[in-house]
């Protein structure tokens, strides 16, 4: 029996976030950073940093016999929440009937051509997910540098 676990916290900047838009599930994970706009104007909404988290647990009896369970609390995509939920529910059945490309949402690979080796699958996901957290981190740091430079002069 083995178990592989990956927990990746990350930060994501969302600019122009509409006031009072925060879904109740997200409020505790949103941090308002609009104060960094000091000296600038003509902006709509708020600037917030979303603290997200991705986890995956792979467990099984051997390299070839295993299960994977993943969790992510970043449910923000900028669209209306209720509409998005309804779209997801409607499109689920259509997706199942679609015999074309089925994406593994964890690894971003073709689900019908799976990676059988548990450790390889783990490393693949680790790579994909760490790359995904790097991009918003870069964007956030660049944004902070610009904002603070503007204020400090």
């Amino acid at each position: 029996m083995f178990e592989l676990k990956l927990h990746l916290p990350y930060f994501k900047l969302i600019t122009g976030y509409p006031p009072k838009k925060a879904h109740h599930r997200m409020k505790s994970r949103l941090r308002d950073v609009s104060f960094l706009r000091a000296g600038t104007s003509n902006f709509v909404g708020r600037d917030v940093i979303l603290q997200g988290h991705y986890s995956i647990v792979i467990h099984g009896y051997s390299d070839q016999i295993w299960d994977a369970h993943s969790f992510e609390n970043n449910d923000f995509d900028g669209d209306d929440w209720d509409d998005e939920d309804r779209e997801d529910e409607n499109s689920e059945d259509e997706d199942l009937e679609d015999e074309e490309f089925q994406e593994d949402p964890n690894a971003g690979v073709e689900a019908n051509m799976p990676i059988w080796d548990a450790r390889e699958y783990f490393l693949r996901i680790f790579n994909v997910r760490s790359t995904q957290i790097l991009q918003p981190a870069k964007y956030l740091v660049r944004w902070l540098e610009r904002s603070i430079d503007n204020y400090v002069g």
Binding site: A38, L123, L140, V141, E145
Partner: protein, 174 residues
Amino acid sequence: MGRDKAEDLKKIYDWTQQSIELLSHLEHGLSGLLQEWETFHSPSGDIGYFSSISGHGSKSLWAIKETFEKLDSLRQRLVHLKGSSRRPAEDVSFAKFGSNSTDTLTHSYNSACSYKAIKLRNTALKRHSATPNRRNAQLKRLKTTPNRQNTINARLNLAFGFVIFDCYFYVKEG
């Protein structure tokens, strides 16, 4: 000192405090992640379970290492930014400390944020004083003696540079 000036100073203080606290929070989060990676990646770490992996797995591992090096570079930029964020408050503090005016920066600063300033000032002086007990005793006397206000202001000015340094820890206590 005019009310507008006092408000400007308070804005600078608030901006600095918020910035440092935010940057510390982000740096702390990133440092934790990087520390976990270092533990995983160390010679006695769990990376040993992947020692026999080859092919795509090996490439993934190499790519992960590069990604974490980039994340560490971002962490260093956050540390540098914290230094930049302190500059406005330090500039104001040093500029005012050179002035002979009794209507001091720190008087207004103290009015706006009195509790925080006193709390943080004590922390700063404890840290930087060679004789902390005597210095704190002096501060207690000064706080209860209004006619020595000018001396208090001078001490607050000295402490101001350190106040910013302590903001993060203060917020955590709250």
